[in-house]
Subunit: 217 residues, 2 copies
DNA sequence: CGCACCTTTGACTCACTTCAATGAGGGTGG
DNA sequence: CCACCCTCATTGAAGTGAGTCAAAGGTGCG
């Protein structure tokens, strides 16, 4: 369900790439307003993207992990409309977009794949809109944790043990809530036996009940 | 800035289309779960899309007008993940997607165009996420009205006079607010001399001040 | 004309925010 | 190795913006 690529597909795109870069925690992959030339494929590590408001408010728009493609928003305007920051040391391949377009004209399956990636991004954003527009705090957090759990499973890790790369402040910004609200929701979930919370280590104790919460509180 | 196509570009896509359909108010262009075969180009009228929640809650995800392409979310899964409903009588062209892909392999400018349309959709959704995640009620409504105003301008209509096609309930669903909150915000804007509100006819009296509100309350 | 739906408005409630204080790691330098 | 500092996290108490419930007024369609 997430925008992961199969190993072979990634390898194929990689041939395209003339450069694999590494980033340290806090480094920018790109900033708002930067000229758009390449998409970025995350090989390892994780990245967050955010939109900045004139008055300093910010909204995190995605947390991305290995296997995901980032920077699709920039295609429409030829410059980046948000910024991407490494949340831990990362390896990232640059995929020159002009070449990708050229190649995808020759290889229908690549074309199709590119379209699916972009479409999946739209679907994902719609999901977040639903979350932000009509869910209450605990439903939002439950949904968020379930998504992380699924991502873990997709990467072959234990789906009930989460090591968060982001702070409560960042989770709050992503979910449209304040950090205190996130903290309180974690505490409540722990009280109710849904989770074991130890700072950024989260263990899901009652997955079925968490699912019920995420669908409807 | 909106996903409008130029007349010539639309005409070009239209050649692709084997059917132009008309819809009456309330008709579905497609429903959640429908098999995906075509994108839809709105020639006249307006359409809303919505995502349904298991428990009956719904979230409107877009209001679309003439010149816009709809259904991009379905590419990733080959079935529709939301539903689209005509808000007034509409003319809509169906664009078989397989043929579009084929054609865009031959015509680089069409390929580019398709990518830009999809990317613009992502940018737009990010904007809504920012709105839903970090703006208060009056800021959201001000932003919404400014968008409509710009759309009007883009279609060559008077940008300060709006004829809303949607109810307060629908605006609320789109902006993540209740209909009463929308109604109160309209009343407040009128009291403050920003708007003249007469049911669904809105006249913007103080555009600069509305802009300030939209950026930061 | 009358019915159905939409809109406005008021009073009250509540979920989340705000403000504030305390506590718990985690890295650095003495 | 401990003391210090900085950032992040937790928790409480009070405030508030938006939601809820309810009633009345408009609007437009058949």
């Amino acid at each position: 369900m997430p925008t992961n690529l199969s190993a072979s597909e990634l390898a194929r795109l990689e041939d395209l790439s003339n450069s694999k870069r590494t980033y340290s925690t806090g480094d920018y992959l790109y900033r708002t307003g930067d000229c758009f030339l390449s998409l970025h494929a995350i090989r390892s590590g994780s990245v967050k993207t955010r939109v900045l408001h004139e008055d300093g408010r910010e909204q995190l728009t995605s947390f991305l992990m290995a296997g995901e493609i980032i920077g699709l928003d920039a295609i429409s305007t030829d410059f980046h409309t948000c910024e991407a920051v490494a949340m831990e040391p990362c390896e990232v391949c640059e995929l020159p977009f002009a070449q990708m377009e050229e190649l995808s004209r020759e290889i229908p399956s690549l074309q199709r794949h590119l379209h699916k990636i972009m479409s999946r991004e739209i679907v994902r954003d719609r999901g977040i809109m639903l979350l932000l527009g009509s869910m209450r705090a605990e439903e939002r957090l439950a949904t968020f944790l379930l998504n992380l759990s699924q991502q873990n499973a997709a990467l072959g890790m234990i789906s009930t043990q989460l090591r968060l790369k982001m702070s409560r402040l960042e989770i709050g910004s992503y979910l449209g809530l304040k950090l205190e609200t996130i903290s309180r929701a974690f505490s409540r979930f722990q009280e109710e036996g849904l989770l074991q919370v130890k700072a950024r280590y989260i263990e899901i104790l009652d997955l079925p009940r968490l699912r019920i919460l995420a669908v409807k509180s």
